[in-house]
């Protein structure tokens, strides 16, 4: 699993907003191109991005292994045809190139995940999206990170309890709805307590926002993002 790790790389020092911009610029141009030369150029960019954030390619590939299943499957699906000649290599190759650019987009996003702590992302959200939606989105994202381990433990308890009560012999619908009811009611009990605690701490629409400032490094990063985005029109 890929996650933030403290480090001193260039990627870690960049403002989260410039990293988001680079990702969007990269995705824009990757979604616009499937030519071999473009893919080669995009591969170089993706490799540089991973290098800058000190993420190994293998590790990033492993993090997206389930996606790889589908990305491999797509060219096969495209190549198979009903009736002679059964396999259309050209269709398969087109789809393979399209799948490959998706892989590159995934790899580039791995660099952001590795190099950006939650508080920086929250700050970027709250400073980019104005007003109440930005405040709720920023705090909400922090809450999702906070509650993941808590709910994981809950779900483990529920599954253990079900297994102990011969849950394996119950129908699939029964199992799914039991997980649903128990999972949701526990989660909502927690949410109701959380709501009280947030109110007690003056949860407000207009808090002091987390500190975030662009450094000299961010201007070239933004320029890269713009160049990438513009290259979508080439």
């Amino acid at each position: 699993m890929l996650s933030y790790e403290p480090d001193g790389t260039l990627a870690h020092r960049l403002d989260p907003r410039s990293k988001l911009a680079i990702q969007i610029g990269f995705a824009a141009t990757a979604l616009a191109h499937t030519g071999l030369r473009a893919l080669a150029a995009l591969s170089v960019v993706a490799a540089v991005v991973l290098l800058v954030a000190r993420v190994s390619v293998l590790e990033a590939l492993y993090a997206y292994r389930y996606a790889l299943v589908f990305l491999t499957l797509a060219p096969l699906l495209a190549a198979v045809t009903f009736g002679s000649p059964w396999i259309d290599l050209e269709d398969g190759a087109t789809s393979a190139r399209a799948s490959y650019r998706v892989l590159l987009i995934l790899l580039v996003s791995a660099a952001y995940v590795r190099s950006t702590p939650v508080r920086a992302s929250r700050a970027a959200i709250q400073r980019t999206i104005p007003g109440k939606p930005g405040q709720l989105l920023g705090i909400g994202v922090a809450l999702v990170f906070r509650f993941l381990p808590v709910l994981q433990a809950d779900l483990r308890t529920i599954r253990d309890a079900m297994a102990a009560r011969l849950g394996d012999e119950r129908s699939a619908v029964d199992r799914a709805s039991t997980i649903g009811i128990l999972g949701l009611s526990r989660a909502f009990d927690r949410a109701d307590r959380l709501a009280l605690a947030m109110q007690a701490r003056c949860f407000a629409w207009n808090p002091t926002l987390p500190a975030l400032s662009l450094s000299r490094l961010d201007y070239p990063a933004f320029a890269v993002a713009v160049v990438l985005a513009l290259s979508a029109f080439l």
Binding site: V118, R119, I139, A142, L143, F145, R146, P149, V150, R190, R193, L194, L196, A197, M198, Q199, A200, R201, C202, F203, A204, N206, P207, T208, L209, P210, A211
Partner: protein, 234 residues
């Protein structure tokens, strides 16, 4: 100072509080004893406007809570049962900063308060640790720090020892003792007085929505018999 003036409150047509009057001075360490359902949690949630009385009035520093919720909530810090559900961020420092951020303080003042609050609960220098990696006792203390960062005059704790083992409980108690010595008023609701009676200036016991005991600890012991409250053995 916290003042309840003839407070009544009903929920689902059941009177949870009936005509309760009580004054708590600054710096007092008050125990709220009583069985589950005696009304102590309901009473305490009126101190910061999480609940609003059906009749009567609650005042904090002579201002009605309903007139200035923000003042009531920053003057009366509140920590609930289940500290796990009270955190808004995945790391210690980001969570403790939540209250002061909501108050709109400067970043410098927020940092100062976070440091001071963590210091007060013996967690200094641990801002960057993940909350889900902390022990139960440490989580309780961080939850208390989250309330202290609002710089309250009173700290309300509702059954803070549930689920804590003895050493963890002692570590929390020791912090409460030191906060109390430094002048913070402590309002502690519990059904188990065994380890806390010696710390208190005053014991308020409730039954069926009424205050039935309001005495210094030395005289409270006898009056508490028959209230489903555990008291230290003589």
């Amino acid at each position: 100072m916290i003042e309840f003036r003839s407070v009544s409150y009903a929920f689902d047509d059941v009177n949870v509080l009936e005509d309760v009057s009580l004054t708590i001075d600054d710096g007092e360490f008050v125990l709220f004893a009583g069985a589950n359902g005696s009304g102590k949690t309901t009473l305490l949630r009126h101190c910061n406007g999480l609940l609003t009385p059906d009749s009567g009035e609650v005042l904090v520093d002579e201002t009605p809570v309903s007139e200035n919720l923000v003042a009531a909530r920053s003057n009366v810090g509140m920590v609930f049962q289940h500290p796990r559900d009270q955190f808004v961020a995945a790391t210690v420092g980001a969570d403790v900063a939540f209250g002061p951020e909501n108050l709109g303080l400067s970043r410098q003042e927020i940092d100062r308060r976070v440091d001071a609050a963590l210091e007060a609960v013996n967690m200094a220098g641990r801002e960057d640790e993940r909350i889900d990696a902390l022990s139960g006792g440490e989580q309780s203390r961080v939850a208390i720090a989250g309330a202290l960062a609002m710089e309250p005059t009173h700290l309300v704790l509702d059954e803070p020892f549930t689920g804590l083992d003895d050493p963890a409980k002692r570590s929390v108690l020791e912090r409460l003792e030191s906060l109390s010595a430094d002048g913070t008023g402590v309002l502690l609701a519990t059904h188990d007085l065994r380890d806390v009676l010696a710390l208190a200036d005053r014991v308020v016991a409730m039954r069926d929505g009424h205050i039935v005991v309001d005495e210094p600890p030395a005289r409270a012991r006898e009056a508490l018999s028959g209230l489903e409250v555990r008291v230290p053995e003589a």
